[in-house]
Amino acid sequence: MAQIVLDRLVATFTGGEIEQIGTQHGNEWARVRRDAWRAVGAFLRDDPTCDMKMPTDLTAVDRLNRDPRFDVVLHLYSVTKKHRVRLYAGVPEDDCNIDSLMPVWPGLDWFEREAYDLYGVRFKGHPDLRRILMYPEFVGHPLRKDYPKEKRQPLIRRSGLPGSPE
């Protein structure tokens, strides 16, 4: 259904920015090189054929034992053309950051905060990258596969955080 979007991406970004495309279970997806993340996003939003004005979802996946370890996954939808596409960008563990897409879609604010909170992927250029579901004192990123499910963390006030004693 959204093959036209993938065709547009491949035709426009010829410098290797689109690493791989495919379709599975009716979902079209493209793997984007990390440094082209924001450029591809802006293109998809502004191109009249794609017209992906609505960001539906942004999350991350921990593909343990793969390099790069994390994928940031973005789902986009076009309310006029009624098609959607999924974008991946690989993020390595030792350099765990990617460009924020907030300049393109301001509504990704909370979604990026959540991906940072749960996976530890930092979004460069996000104006307010705080934890959103976990509390500020929390240590670690709970959805990483190496974070034990049973691990408990007592709530300890630490200095330098809002609400904590000096």
């Binding site: 599975q24 004005k53 960001p55 539906t56 996946v61 009624k82 959607r84 879609w105 509504g107």
Partner: protein
């Protein structure tokens, strides 16, 4: 010290202008006394807060200049727990996402797994019809809870009681088919857990008839009620452009004029066989959101009536040995069936490796499930895209310029469900 009394240059907050027009009181901006902004804390435990959420608002007098919404108090590690549960064991967790419309979550999740297994279009017809019926009943209860609670917060306690009375009739029927009033876990991968009892359809039709009367009555109590209208009209306006850029869907998105309903635009199950309308608002204020929900209740009742008239007989579970449990007679009398039963329960349903994003129309908007499978009986990742997470995230943009009292109806009509937003 005349300089300190010099009025601040008038700003142009959009929403209160409409409000003043509604009240018929034109307050000149330059009469306002200069004030210092102070931070005001609402919640996390506050009578007017749906669920547990904290708002830190900066107020200048009564006017909000900045709002910080802090969620996460109801975080129950849905995704983390799901990675350690079999595909069937996740159903009880989905019940607790949007806990006023659990059936819709059940259906959305089941469809995602079925797509991943390639059986979504092989479901027996009766299963699809049952899922539509229970899903729409759940949508009615969802909207009634939102309207009732929203009205109660504005002082209309009668409406709240009337709507909750009707909601209980519907809950009783859902309890009859699933055994639980709220946490149904009724849907299964490949079907539903049991057929509708005899005479259930007739009871539902009767309840719908009575519910319709309640809805009309509540509409009469509120639609032209001066107190209600004054606090809803022109308050908390979300523009269509903002709704699109923030991913706002569902009744909140449609109230802005955004014509997007998954049931119409990307029909799943058998929604393309029913005749129903999608109410669209024009202003995007609280009253539009209220009217969209009120009208959607009626449309859901129409769908249920048509589905009950057309529902075919047949099995309620797909005949696929990968997902269905062998019958009890077989299980107790043959070793093969017993092993198969054991494997499905203990190892879980094996889903081929792959990834899928499946989306349905939940109570609050597009409810998406993004599942990554590695071929075992437990998902590698089970992400839920909660509609009200996106809907609430637009609030920091909507609230500035409103008054403190406007938070209550605005937040009520956004209908944040903590279980879904915080997962």
């Amino acid at each position: 010290m005349a300089s300190t009394l010099t009025p601040t240059p008038p700003k142009a907050p959009a929403a209160p202008a409409v409000r003043r027009m509604v009240l018929g009181v034109q307050e000149p901006e330059d009469m306002d006394l200069p004030t210092d902004p102070i931070p005001l804390n609402m919640g996390p435990s506050h009578p007017a807060m749906h669920g547990t959420v904290r708002m830190v608002v900066d107020v200048e007098g009564e006017k909000i200049t900045n709002a910080d919404i802090q969620i996460g108090y109801l975080h129950r590690c849905f995704e983390k727990e799901s990675e350690y549960a079999t595909y069937t064991q996740i159903f009880p967790y989905t019940d607790r996402l949007n806990y006023v419309s659990p059936m819709l979550n059940n259906v959305g999740y089941a469809l995602a797994v079925e797509k991943l297994m390639g059986i979504a279009d092989k479901l027996p017809e009766r299963v699809s019809y049952i899922r539509v019926i229970v899903g729409e009943v759940s949508r009615i209860t969802d909207h009634m809870t939102c309207l009732g609670a929203g009205a109660m917060e504005l002082g209309a306690f009668t409406v709240f009681l009337y709507l909750l009375k009707a909601r209980e009739w519907l809950y009783e029927l859902l309890e009859e088919i699933s055994g639980a009033r709220l946490t149904h876990s009724y849907v299964r991968i490949g079907g539903v857990s049991g057929d509708l009892p005899d005479g259930w359809g007739a009871k539902l039709l009767d309840v719908i008839k009575r519910t319709r009367e309640v809805i009309v009555e509540c509409g009469r109590l509120l639609n032209r009620n001066r107190i209600f209208r004054d606090r809803m009209d022109g308050i908390g306006i979300i523009t269509k452009e903002d709704a699109i850029a923030w991913g706002v869907t569902g009744p909140v998105g449609r109230s802005t004029g955004l014509d997007y309903d998954v049931r119409k635009d990307h029909p799943y199950l058998v929604y393309d066989r029913f005749d129903f309308d999608v109410p669209i608002g024009s202003v995007g204020d609280n009253f539009d959101r209220y009217m969209c929900r009120l009208e959607e209740i009626e449309q859901s009742m129409r769908i249920v009536e048509q589905a009950l008239a057309k529902i075919p007989a047949g099995p309620t579970m797909i005949d696929d040995p990968r997902v269905r449990l062998p019958s009890k007679t077989e299980t107790y009398n043959s070793i093969e069936a017993m092993i198969a039963h054991f494997k499905v329960i203990m190892d879980g349903i094996h889903v081929p490796p792959g990834e899928v994003y499946s989306f349905t129309e939940g109570g609050n908007g597009e409810l998406g499930f993004y599942i990554v499978s590695d071929g075992t009986g437990r998902p590698w990742k089970c992400r839920v895209r909660p509609p009200c997470f996106a809907n609430v995230s637009v609030l920091p943009k909507v609230l500035p310029g409103l008054f403190i009292a406007d938070i209550v109806p605005t937040f009520g009509m956004i209908n944040m469900i903590g279980g879904e937003c915080d997962r």
